[in-house]
């Protein structure tokens, strides 16, 4: 290679993890009653720290602290005051952005380019955005004086640990709720660093409590009688379990679950930007994105050309050390996830789809999967139906707009979709037909605090972000 980019590693000296972390309850780190677990860097398998596994009594303590904070402090704090705390959090996150980006990359395996340019700036932006709403809730369209639910139990996934935390905590605090949040089992560290941001911002104790642990901790939080509302982002299977667990109780929930998005390309699409959009749609965050454009629906007459261009473009992707600023594709988050990807890709090959993987070196330690695309895929293949949650693209063809709509909607999911065409009228017509919460036109995987996000069908219910994101955290006010 003529122009070989020398390694440009980000320094990890900007972040220091404690050797072990307790549970953040009532403004203090306290020891958990249960066991502990190790959390690792998925790119190297190095142990980064040890965190507590919260048991039922820890959940009790956290919920009690949140209840006390809600009743004594937070529900009595005017919106304009709550806004100040949120603005402070947003600013501190922005000031400490480098530290959080490095921490996120170390614990998640995502490239520093993405944590630096996407995750952390967006996390800060969500706090800024919801800070603006905190004193305007009476005018948000939820009745004259909407009220908070009380204590909110939140469970977030491992693919965007800090960003999902901000999506959950910012609207909850803006609306006057208090929070008990459980970060994912494999990626608790930025949430634990966030506890320090809360203290720096002077947030009253108990308003936000952070419990680490795995599935059972989340289940205990969801089932707890003191929790008024649940907010969950994660797999459809777990989401269904949550819906069952709270059925018949007074609890309300928003569930943001899996997806199998169609990224639909017409023959008049802006071809070079489309190729970029496809790459961003499925290889962003190693494809571990619930709204990833994992099904590429291509108009048949440009299939060969587009696939050829895509392969050339994939040849320039740089796979490897996530801490290198020039890395485009980092590590898969866990051994379990890598296994799931491997199994589904095997199923794709077994069912007769044609596999093409990027020919690139990958590190020996850690969890890695080469960017992969399948051609010759039809709707009946498992790789076209099941969420792979990895850097694997399935290419399907269509001939007419109606066929594209039918195939795009032919999935149990309905979180997102993309349309690529130069024809504006077709974009509007398609967007109207697609049963998906977000439809991107000539772009993909773009997030903004002002824009609502959420799914149809098995992709869940409720919306996060924008004005719509306030609704699930409020009980509608009525005129007295």
């Amino acid at each position: 290679m003529v122009f070989e980019y020398a390694p440009a590693p980000e320094s990890r000296s900007v972040v220091s993890f404690d050797s072990s972390y307790g549970l953040f309850i009532d403004g203090e780190f306290t020891d958990g009653a249960g066991t502990t677990m190790k959390t690792i860097n998925p790119a190297t398998e190095e142990v980064l720290s040890e965190v507590s596994v919260a048991g039922e009594e820890d959940v009790d303590r956290a919920v009690a602290a949140a209840r006390k904070a809600f009743e004594k402090v937070w529900s009595r704090t005017p919106g304009s005051e709550r806004a100040k705390y949120l603005y402070r959090i947003a600013r501190i996150l922005a000031e400490r952005s480098r530290e959080f980006a490095v921490a996120e990359t170390l614990n998640n395996g995502k490239p520093i380019r993405e944590s630096r340019d996407v995750d952390v700036p967006l996390a800060s932006a969500y706090f800024f955005y919801y800070a603006g709403w905190a004193d305007k809730l009476d005018h948000a369209g939820f009745g004259p004086a909407p009220r908070p639910h009380g204590v909110v139990g939140q469970v977030i996934p491992w693919n965007f640990p800090l960003l999902m935390l901000s999506w959950k905590i910012a609207p909850a605090l803006a609306t006057g709720n208090t929070v008990v949040i459980k970060p994912a089992e494999t990626t608790p560290l930025t949430a634990l660093l966030f506890a320090d941001v809360l203290r720096q911002a002077g947030l009253p104790p108990g308003v936000v409590n952070i419990l680490t642990g795995a599935g059972p901790t989340g289940a205990a939080l969801v089932a707890h009688r003191g929790v008024d509302k649940i907010a969950f982002t994660g797999s459809t299977a777990v989401g269904k379990g949550i819906a069952r667990a709270i059925a018949g109780t007074r609890k309300v929930a928003t569930l943001e679950l899996g997806g199998k998005a169609a990224n639909i390309v017409f023959d008049d699409a802006p071809i070079d930007q489309t190729v970029e959009g496809i790459v961003n749609g499925i290889f962003f965050n190693q494809g571990q994105v619930c709204c990833a454009g994992s099904r590429l629906l291509v108009q048949e007459n440009i299939h060969d050309e587009l696939v050829e261009r895509l392969k050339v473009r994939l040849g320039t992707l740089r796979v490897g050390d996530p801490m290198d600023k020039n890395t485009d594709v980092g590590a898969i988050n866990s051994a379990a996830q890598l296994q799931r990807i491997t199994d589904l890709v095997q199923a794709g090959e077994d069912e007769g789809a044609i596999r093409w993987s990027l020919d690139c070196g990958i590190p020996t330690n850690g969890f890695w999967f080469r960017p992969t695309l399948f051609t010759g895929v039809s709707q009946s293949h498992r790789i076209a139906q099941e969420e792979i949650f990895g850097p694997v693209l399935s290419v399907i063809t269509f001939r007419t707009p109606a066929e594209a709509v039918a195939k795009a909607n032919n999935t149990p999911y309905g979180l997102s979709a993309g349309i690529w065409t130069e024809k504006g009228s077709r974009i509007l017509w398609m967007a109207d037909q697609l049963r998906a919460g977000v439809v991107w036109a000539n772009t993909f995987n773009k997030f903004d605090p002002t824009s609502p996000f959420g799914g149809y069908k098995e992709s869940g219910y409720g919306r996060e972000g924008g004005r719509h994101g306030l609704g699930p955290y409020l009980v509608e006010g009525t005129t007295r």
Binding site: V2, A269, Q273, N442
Partner: protein
């Protein structure tokens, strides 16, 4: 510095193509022998569109690449070897041109190993002065012809202008297209202009190398940039160049990325590799490095060669020299340690 010269065999280098070959290629691509404005327009407007938001985002991503240590050292030397060191002022004198050539001959007097720029770029009337000064160095002399920078003159005048430079011995001709004709949809006129200038370039045994300046700042839309790039390549341009440097905006990274996509696609279609030259406004090393990143990742490493990529610049060289010294000494020297001619 190592550089591959592999890639297209010499016979495919565009400046060796005859007029008949160029015409045959163009007719084959457009699908007709009668290259009228209507036929050319149908073809150019049938090219895939460009989404501005996406194109800007792609350029933005390319400029986040972090080029350090050995990669930076390679890039700085490559940049120098790709520079067309330029002086295009009404006040240019023979003395000024000789100084410019002296700078090109010895960019860094303290380091004989420093590479030389590819060419010096001057106004037509100063070609003889520049040619005399570059003798024996391998540095090319490029002349801006065809009523540079506006191009607002009759074809006869523009051809005579070109003939002046070609007969004086200029190695490379930087011509401007008639942006007015392009914007009016008179594609055949632009096409024929380029073909005619090209014929003048070929009027001697060793043809002058033709760079076609699109003046992308005046074409405004990215769709126009793509169409103009293809029109120039169809007409046999050896290089497509963004700007004269006299109009704002001059070269931008998104526009250069679009042009790199165009030459990549043209090469895939015809086997002919056309060069790209961003010009105007590229002053910093870091900025120039990001252009090289774009070349590397968009058109591919074949284009990382002065035969296929150039920078039109006047002040870029000194910033690169300062960065180059910083890499060897570990510290920045002051501006007085770099010569200013």
């Amino acid at each position: 510095m190592t550089r591959t010269t592999a890639g297209a065999p010499p016979a495919l280098r565009p400046w060796h193509r005859s007029a008949a070959e160029v015409a045959a290629t163009a007719a084959g691509i457009v699908g007709t022998d009668s290259l009228t404005s209507a036929n050319l327009g149908r073809y150019l407007h049938g090219l895939p569109g460009v989404d501005k938001v996406g194109a800007d985002a792609r350029a933005g991503m390319l400029s986040t690449r972090s080029i350090k240590t050995s990669a930076k050292a390679w890039a700085l030397d490559a940049i120098i070897s790709m520079i067309d060191l330029t002086t295009l002022e009404g006040a240019d004198t023979p003395g000024k041109v000789r100084s410019l050539v002296a700078k090109a001959r010895t960019p860094d007097p303290s380091d004989p190993g420093c590479p030389r720029p590819a060419a010096v770029c001057v106004y037509n009337d100063l070609v003889p002065v520049a040619l005399e000064a570059v003798a024996g160095t391998g540095i090319h002399v490029a002349a801006v012809s065809t009523a540079f920078p506006s191009g607002r003159a009759s074809r006869a005048v523009r051809l005579a202008d070109t003939a002046d430079a070609v007969s004086a011995g200029a190695h490379e001709i930087d011509m401007v297209i008639d942006r007015g004709a392009f914007l009016a949809g008179d594609y055949a006129r632009v096409f024929e202009d380029i073909v005619a200038v090209r014929e003048v370039c070929r009027s001697r045994p060793e043809p002058a190398h033709l760079k076609v300046i699109l003046e992308t700042g005046e074409l405004v839309t990215y769709d126009n940039v793509r169409r103009a790039s293809w029109l120039a390549m169809l007409a046999g341009a050896d290089f497509i160049k963004t700007s004269t440097g006299k109009v704002n905006p001059a070269a931008t990274l998104p526009v250069t990325v679009l042009m790199l996509e165009a030459v990549r696609d043209f090469a895939a279609l015809t086997g002919v590799s056309v060069g790209v030259k961003p010009a105007g406004g590229i002053r910093g090393s870091k900025q120039a490095v990001h252009y090289l990143v774009a070349v590397n990742e968009v058109a591919g490493e074949t284009w990382l060669d002065p035969e296929l990529f150039r920078f039109g610049a006047s002040s870029l060289l000194n910033d690169v020299l300062a960065q180059r010294r910083k890499l060897t000494t570990g510290a920045y020297t002051g501006p007085d340690y770099i010569t200013i001619d």
